[in-house]
């Protein structure tokens, strides 16, 4: 086995290190990484540093503007500390984002590698399904699904995944299609390796670059979508906070308490921008054509 693995294009480990170097020299990517890491740290460590519990209601302290009464980001209509809620919401929103990334990337990779490897009718059917999902404005489909299920973080992650896996599938399919006639695949066939082994052990790892890029962008997209469906009230339900449902209801107090809308929105923007920057950096790092630039 090991000898065969060594026979696969030797560029993988090499590219890897070069990709890493390129990524680290990509300024935006680094900024993105810092943004995401800072926000993640804040969301997971912040709650321990704050004197307030995210669920504690204090009607005496409602609508405290940011910076007053020890509330760095102010309080909401029930007098709950927005900072505490924001951090907890961040855990949930990011968890949803990562869950979607894992689910969508897995589905997309499997679909892509299968149709790329077998081609023919299998590919035709699978890729038509991909087109079907792509041809929908996914927001329509998401809302239709979300309106009729029991909304919770798991369900929300599942339905966002259902509309997010197609990109990966296309990328993987294209990549695998171009690889399947190469020597190392022929060799694997002759060695009598199973199709499954060839697809997932030999072909898929070669598409890992584009997959990682797509996965990163998927996190960004999932956070945005979660925010939107929760904003409309079809997503994660209170009292469980998410960035989106913190904005749901903030519209009503836009004039009297604008921080209710501004702060969670900024958190979303920072998180999504961070992931997009990272994705951009990774794309440049993995893209061998960009070498010359």
């Amino acid at each position: 086995m090991s000898s065969l693995t060594a026979n696969t294009p030797a560029r993988r480990p090499f590219i890897k290190s070069r990709a890493l170097r390129r990524f680290l020299s990509h300024k935006l990517a680094l900024i993105g990484l810092i943004m995401v890491l800072t926000l993640t740290a804040a969301c997971f460590i912040g709650p321990f540093l704050l004197p307030y519990d995210e669920l504690h209601i204090d009607l005496m302290a409602r609508f405290a503007p940011p910076g007053t009464g020890g509330h760095i980001f102010g309080t909401d209509p029930l007098g709950r500390d927005i900072a505490a809620r924001l951090f907890h919401a961040g855990q949930i929103s990011m968890a949803v984002g990562f869950a979607v990334m894992i689910i969508a990337t897995t589905i997309g990779s499997v679909v892509g590698v299968v149709s790329g490897y077998y081609g023919g009718k299998v590919a035709a059917v699978l890729m038509r399904i991909v087109d079907a999902f792509l041809s929908f404005p996914s927001v329509f489909l998401l809302l239709a699904l979300a309106a009729f299920i029991q909304p919770g973080p798991v369900m929300i992650a599942l339905i966002i995944s259902a509309t997010s896996w197609m990109e990966v599938a296309r990328i993987v399919e294209a990549e695998v299609k171009s690889l399947r006639n190469q020597d190392f695949v022929q060799a694997a066939h002759m060695l009598g390796l199973s199709n499954r082994w060839i697809m997932f052990r030999e072909l898929l790892p070669n598409a890992i670059g584009p997959i990682i890029v797509a996965a990163t962008l998927t996190v960004a997209r999932a956070i945005l979508l979660e925010a939107y469906i929760s904003f409309l009230g079809y997503g994660i339900q209170p009292p469980l906070p998410s960035w989106g449902n913190m904005l749901n209801g903030a519209q009503q107090y836009l004039q009297s308490a604008p921080w209710l809308a501004i702060i969670p929105g900024l958190a979303i923007t920072i998180a999504v921008t961070g992931f997009n920057f990272i994705g951009d950096g990774l794309r440049d790092a993995f893209d061998s054509r960009a070498q010359g630039e």
Binding site: R128, A132, V139, F148, A227, L247, T269, V272
Partner: protein, 316 residues
Amino acid sequence: MLRYILSRLGQSLILLLIVSFIGFAVLTLAPGGPLSQFALSPGMTQEQIDKIAAQMGLDRPVVVQYFDWMSNLVVGDWGTSYRDGQSVLHVIGSHLFATLLLMGTATVISVSLGSTIGIFSALKRGSAFDYATTVFAMVALSIPTFWFGLIAIYFFSLNLGWLPAGNMYTVGDGSVLDYASHLIMPAAVLALVDVAIWSRYMRTSTLNVINQDFVRTAKSKGLPRRRVVLKHIVGNSLVPMITLAGLQLPMVLGGALVTETVFTWPGMGRLFLDSLGYSDYPVVMGLLMASAILVLVGNLAADLIVALIDPRIRLD
């Protein structure tokens, strides 16, 4: 060519079937239903609700309902809205203008602005302008559209009082200026993301063209730079943009839905949310189908146009 179009159309029909069945099953099997909105009405009884459900055929198995709906759809009958008893096509049609107006305006803004930015950043690759627009595009792609809309309302309507916070026009006014003042904010918000996308793609496309032989030839022939840019570079880099326009349709439509909810714009997005809230399945399904058709046709049209104007591409 004709064979290509036919096979694409055939594939599209299969797609529509898949899409419609998924949508229909989800809506029909879900708890609740179009009659639950009457549950709190004085004098309403379960008996009455059951009776109405039977009259509307809602008590039949999903598959039967689906085939009933589908066979009507095939002959052009999209069904009747549960909410106002009007034909679904009429209901969608009456919201179409608002959405097209919003999408159209936003597209004009984003294509013109986005292309300009993209070409300039490509021509001045590596400059501060290029770098700034790159960062701008990435951030713009990351801002939640609905939130950006809220913030715009906060500043321009609530604080400054310059622009109306919602609706398409003032009842009783409806002049062009009145429409424009209502349109500017939602269109700008909707365009933001697209400007970013267009500028990125235009930049890539222009870079590809710049490095091609005929541009070098044109330059070496000593043609003025302005002419090279306008005639050779811009013209050729716009071709792939047509495909992009087709691919962007679902995005713009989805974006319009989001924007309409924030600005209470009386378009298809608003209709979709209202219909969803009232479980008006025929309209929800109609909108799903209409948007899918729009997207499929848009993609097909984009591919055909590209094939027509670019002799290098042959459709098979």
